[in-house]
């Protein structure tokens, strides 16, 4: 084994050893840290966090030139948005009387409040961009092909959820930008065939009216108002994150079950 490093005979090393041999440390980390094959496997399998990863991965799968790192970065942005979002929830009340004022409190009163809000917003925008980049990469490498068809379908669901998460969050600052962007965005819903009051064939359903159609269902009223703010807040902070997190884990699980990051080997096998 070339990987094993010889122990330097210093005091610092003694201290490290002392900690690593202690009962507390050994009760948490059950494997050693010398660079051996066995430890490299145990690093991945002995703990909860890393056991979600395979012990060995394809060499091409860790090349940034191949994956662009876009999928992992999308997940990172999602985690950042979740953490900053939870902290923001401490300072935000989803009613028109307070929502906009809380934005001002964040900016002027709360330490690092603006940084927190910026981090949340920019990570969300980065997530939208990166999820598109990830989809582009997956298409360019044909990674949706057998046996990964269904994971692509889950990916499309996650793309839709990303857009919905971003869109519902867009309303929460309750400023002019938010209100009118959401007004424009949800106006399309009233043109939905059959269930939108301005959509084709709505005249055949007599109970469809401006106050009872797809748009009013989204808005909780006929205009973007207090009901909309609360609806979007609950969707943004509870419903959509739960669904998204669930699908993210299904997405990751299936990567492993479908044979890891796609690579040329299978294709070569089939074509030869």
């Amino acid at each position: 084994m070339t990987g094993i490093k010889e122990k330097p005979d210093t005091e610092k090393q003694d201290l490290t050893d002392h900690i690593a041999q202690s009962q507390i440390w050994k009760s948490i980390f059950r494997h050693g840290f010398t660079d051996t094959q066995r430890n490299r496997v145990l690093q991945m399998t002995a703990g909860f966090l890393l056991h979600t990863r395979p012990v060995r991965v394809w060499t091409h799968g860790i090349r940034l030139r191949y994956t662009w790192g876009a999928g992992g970065l999308t997940f990172l942005m999602y985690v950042v948005a979740c953490i900053t979002g939870i902290v923001l929830m401490f300072y935000y009340r989803p009613v028109p009387e307070y929502a906009y004022a809380d934005m001002k409190y964040l900016k002027f009163d709360i330490p690092f409040g603006m940084f927190l809000r910026n981090m949340h917003r920019w990570s969300a925008h980065a997530m939208v961009i990166l999820v598109l980049v990830h989809m582009l990469r997956v298409f360019l490498t044909g990674s949706y092909k057998k046996p990964r068809e269904f994971n692509w379908v889950i990916g499309v669901c996650l793309l839709t959820l990303t857009l919905l998460l971003s869109f519902t969050g867009y309303l929460l600052p309750w400023d002019q930008l938010a209100m009118w962007a959401v007004t424009v965005g949800t106006n399309m819903a009233r043109a939905t065939p059959f269930v939108g009051h301005e959509g084709p064939f709505a005249e055949f359903l007599p109970f469809i009216s401006p106050s009872f159609d797809a748009r009013s269902f989204l808005l909780g009223g006929t205009l973007v108002g207090p009901g909309t703010l609360l609806r979007f807040y609950v969707l943004h902070c509870v419903v959509l994150p739960v669904v998204t997190t669930f699908l993210v884990f299904v997405h990751f699980y299936r990567i492993r079950k479908d044979g890891g990051i796609s690579g040329p080997m299978k294709a070569l096998e089939e074509e030869s």
Binding site: T2, R53, R56, V57, G72, T141, P193, A267, E270
Partner: protein
């Protein structure tokens, strides 16, 4: 198993085939570095640029233009060319369903797990056209080139809120001299029907017997692919017809227009 931790794990035993490497440290080191760089970029971005905050929401003051969030501006841009039920409901719905259907429609086994243009010319050119031409570019136009009244402005141009652009758009049937309500409706149906049926049918008759890909697809996959493809291409067709020929609608019916 070699000392450096790689495992030659292929049954074929070809030298060109990829090996496996331990996730620790191979994968985790790269992930850690990429995470570090991404977090630095995000922090610098968050320190230097503030998230926008305008005046408090006011239902009685409508901004001009009122823009959707940037990722939906491609759809808002399509509102110029299509009625809201198509631009806002049908097209996004087709996008999602069409994307989901891709793995089940693409029967070409080649290009799975590596970059290639030659072996997947149709799939790649179609996707790249849709992705950039019908998604990214309309977003860029919507974000940077649309001003009051949803008129076109250069990004550096001052917005003139009184700008008037003359629009004399007429229906395609009128352009071709077809008069009368039902004659126009029938013409529209024939036109759209021909758009969806004729090109795929002609390709099928010409190639079905000889082309191995079409043979492999079978009739069901072929029909769905052709329908989705023609639906997608209807978007640039309508944009072209509007910008060059000033066509308002292809099809006018009592219930809806296309």
């Amino acid at each position: 198993m070699t000392a450096s931790g790689t495992v030659s794990g292929t049954a074929l035993g070809k030298a060109a085939l990829p090996d496996k490497v331990h996730a620790w440290p191979g994968l985790l080191r790269i992930e850690g570095l990429v995470t570090l760089v991404a977090m630095i970029v995000l922090c610098v971005w968050s320190i230097t640029i503030d998230a926008p905050l305008e005046e408090p929401a006011n239902p009685s003051i409508t901004p001009n233009p009122a823009k959707a969030p940037w990722y939906f501006l491609g759809l808002q841009e399509l509102l110029v060319y299509f009625d809201p039920w198509i631009a806002g409901v049908l097209i996004p719905g087709f996008c999602i369903l069409g994307l989901m259907a891709i793995p089940y429609l693409d029967v070409n086994p080649q290009g799975n797990g590596y970059y290639t243009l030659k072996r997947r010319a149709f799939a790649l050119s179609t996707f790249l056209f849709g992705f950039f031409g019908l998604w990214i570019i309309p977003i860029i136009i919507g974000v940077f080139f649309r001003g009051p009244g949803w008129n076109l402005f250069w990004p550096w141009e001052e917005w003139d809120i009184h700008k008037v652009v003359s629009q004399n758009n007429v229906n395609l049937s009128y352009l071709l001299g077809i008069k009368g309500y039902w004659a126009e409706a029938i013409f529209g149906l024939v036109f759209l029907g021909a758009w969806f049926v004729l090109p795929p049918l002609m390709l099928w008759q010409k190639k079905a017997a000889t082309n191995p890909t079409i043979k492999k697809m079978g009739i069901a996959r072929y029909v769905i692919t052709a329908f989705l493809f023609q639906s997608m291409m209807l978007v640039p067709l309508k944009i072209f017809a509007r910008l060059v020929l000033h066509v308002k609608y292809f099809l006018v019916l009592p219930w809806f227009n296309v």
